[in-house]
């Protein structure tokens, strides 16, 4: 049994009085202990929905309308509020995108760290503070002792994200879900933060779900990839395999758009068009309006996810090579 098994997950939002639209349309994934998975896709693909539904934290009016999230065999979506709280921030932690707004502006760093520990452990204030300082040191925050009394606005963006990472690690979780942990940061420190997350996950054998637009980061950090498009997983497999030989035209398009894969002097490639909003999905394969390989079949039927890709006309790698 895998550590985390998501099965046919649907997330729906009300549309008008009776109807609903789906932001996730049946996503499944498996994650083993200590494994690092990258979730990639354009804005609006449903990556954050996937992340939040794991901890049953979809904001109203959205809801998980179908599917299950089994963590060590236990369906998190069926747990009582009290029981799921025992998982959140304890065995599964999250890191959010923008550290400027993730930390509460009116509470000190110390308060926000200690409360997390106290929610999950019977621990004295003094012991909690000691542990917090140790974690701040682990994420390489200079003069950690004096930071407990600081407010978030007194720290730079990079330091704040380090604090968020320290909070995520406080309780020694088995899984960290990082939703675009570096996108909001200054380019010069993005790599630093990413390297820190990778190092800590490796050292502590923590599993990671890394959500990002950036295939480049995923290639460096993760062992497996899941590519999402319009609420579905369109391709999944070992990172190196997908990067070297994508089968789905969308994966291939994303790769082609990477600067490091573009030839010298050529213009950066861009997939034509944009992802449709969930309220106006085309029938059949949602990617067909943008796909060079689309046929009548693609417009009529949704391709099933088989052999790691959901496409009627996958790129055959012998063909691609020639």
């Amino acid at each position: 049994m895998a550590m985390l098994e998501i099965e046919d997950l649907h997330v729906a939002f009300p549309k008008g009085k009776k109807a609903e639209v789906e932001a996730l349309r049946g996503v499944s994934l498996k994650l083993e202990k200590g494994e690092r998975l990258g979730v990639v896709g354009e804005s609006g693909a449903g990556k954050s929905m996937l992340a939040f539904s794991i901890l049953n934290l979809i904001a109203e009016p959205g809801r998980v309308s179908q599917g299950s999230v089994a963590f060590h065999g236990e369906n998190l979506l069926e747990l009582s509020e009290r029981d799921i709280r025992g998982i959140r921030g304890n065995r599964i932690s999250m890191i959010f995108q923008d550290p400027m707004v993730t930390l509460n502006p009116v509470l000190t760093i110390g308060t926000q760290m200690v409360e997390t520990l106290k929610a999950h452990r019977k621990i004295s204030d003094a012991a909690a503070r000691k542990l917090c300082i140790a974690k701040l040191k682990e994420v390489a925050i200079p003069s950690a002792e004096s930071r407990l009394g600081a407010y978030p606005h007194e720290l730079s963006g990079g330091l704040r994200q380090r604090v968020v990472i320290a909070i995520a690690l406080l309780t020694d979780p088995e899984l960290i879900i990082a939703d675009e942990p570096t996108t909001a940061l200054d380019v010069t420190i993005q790599a630093e933060i990413m390297a820190l997350i990778l190092k800590l996950c490796r050292e502590k054998d923590v599993a990671l779900i890394l959500i990002t637009h950036d295939l480049g980061i995923v290639a460096e950090v993760t062992e497996r990839i899941m590519i999402m498009y319009a609420g579905l997983c369109v391709e999944t497999g070992p990172t190196q395999q997908i990067i070297q030989a994508p089968h789905h035209p969308y994966s291939a398009g994303l790769l082609k758009a990477l600067p490091q894969f573009a030839g010298r002097g050529t213009r950066l490639y861009q997939i034509p068009g944009s992802m449709p909003p969930i309220t106006a999905l085309p029938p059949g394969c949602a990617y067909h309006p943008r796909c060079e390989r689309a046929t009548e079949l693609c417009k009529a039927q949704v391709p099933p996810l088989e052999h790691g890709h959901a496409c009627f006309h996958p790129i055959d790698q012998t063909e691609a090579a020639s």
Partner: protein, 328 residues
């Protein structure tokens, strides 16, 4: 240290504001009727009046008179009430406890109702109680205060006869001559209708404000992160979300102080509440100029002091605002 710097700066500002208020007050005195007519009868001849004017300095230039007035004022001498024949400041200060307790009652009522109601309405958005409170608050905002007041008097005072609608009832004397109505049932029962009326100016507005702010903070990333940390619902709501709604609430509260003080005049008059506002309206009717000016200056001072306190409170709850002189 930085608190002292803050207080010092605010004191300088307060002095400037009081200076302006006193100038306005004095201009009123200068333009409002002839003090001699109030002091002496019709029988005094025109020559004698001129002589008295000269003696009292009433023929001096405006600013000479103003600085004389100011000099007296800083020594606590705001002139003598024509009607009471006593120092105007003493007359006002006798009425201060009544007004203070009225405002205290109103603030207590509106805080203890608007905070729970605002939070409730933000959390249970679609419940019928929320819908009722929200509709009632719309009505509340649009009903003028004097109608609320008269309605209260009529319903609870006259028709049902549950509560006294006039005066303060018996008071108990505390040290420094403070007459309080808060220590007896009778005093408290007299306080209910006027303070409910006075609080009705702020209540609907604050319920809506707190609800709107609370709804906004509940959907912020930091509240989501607090949930993702596994904190209890009450900690997420009250420590993470509600603390952040306090900032705008205190700001608006500070802006509303002037309104609240202004409405004490109306409320005290309707309920015959023996406070400063009621006294002021009587003074206006009697053209008791020294008393009018003393009222304006005392109320101005109260306003300045309370505003400074609110600003101070704001800096206490908002870590982003540093008191001048503080180091990060």
């Amino acid at each position: 240290m930085h608190i002292l710097a803050f207080l010092l700066r605010r004191s300088v500002q307060a002095v400037i504001v009081m200076f302006v208020i006193s100038l306005i007050g004095f201009s009123i005195q200068d333009n409002l009727g002839d003090p001699l007519r109030e002091l002496v009868g019709q029988s005094v001849s025109e020559e004698e009046r001129d002589l008295m004017r000269e003696e009292m300095g009433l023929n001096d230039p405006f600013f000479v008179q103003y600085f004389r007035f100011l000099g007296n004022a800083v020594q606590g001498d705001l002139g003598t009430s024509y009607f009471f024949k006593r120092p105007a400041l003493d007359v006002i200060m006798d009425k201060f406890p009544a007004t203070f307790e009225l405002v205290l009652g109103a603030v207590f009522i509106f805080l203890s109702l608007s905070i729970p109601a605002g939070i409730y309405c933000a959390i249970h958005r679609d419940s019928w109680i929320t819908r009722f409170i929200m509709s009632a608050s719309i009505v509340g905002i649009s009903v003028p205060v004097f109608l609320t007041a008269i309605g209260m008097v009529w319903l609870f005072g006259v028709e049902l006869g549950w509560l006294p609608a006039f005066g303060r009832g018996d008071t108990v004397e505390l040290p420094w001559g403070w007459e309080t109505g808060l220590l007896t049932w009778e005093g408290l029962s007299h306080l209910i209708l006027p303070s409910v009326t006075l609080s009705s100016i702020m209540l609907p507005l604050f319920i809506r404000l707190i609800r709107a702010e609370m709804m906004e903070t509940m959907s912020t990333d930091y509240v989501r992160f607090a949930k993702a940390k596994g904190l209890s619902t009450s900690r997420v709501r009250y420590v993470h979300a509600f603390r952040n709604t306090l900032l705008p609430v205190v700001t608006v509260g500070g802006l509303m102080i002037g309104t609240l003080i202004a409405y004490t005049i109306l409320t005290e008059t309707v309920f015959q509440w023996p406070g400063m506002g009621f006294l002021f309206l009587e003074a206006v009717n009697r053209v008791d100029t020294p008393l009018i000016i003393a009222y304006i200056i005392v109320v101005g001072l109260i306003f300045v002091v309370v505003n400074t306190l609110v600003d101070f409170l704001y800096t206490l709850i908002n870590p982003m605002v540093k008191l001048p002189g503080a180091k990060s």
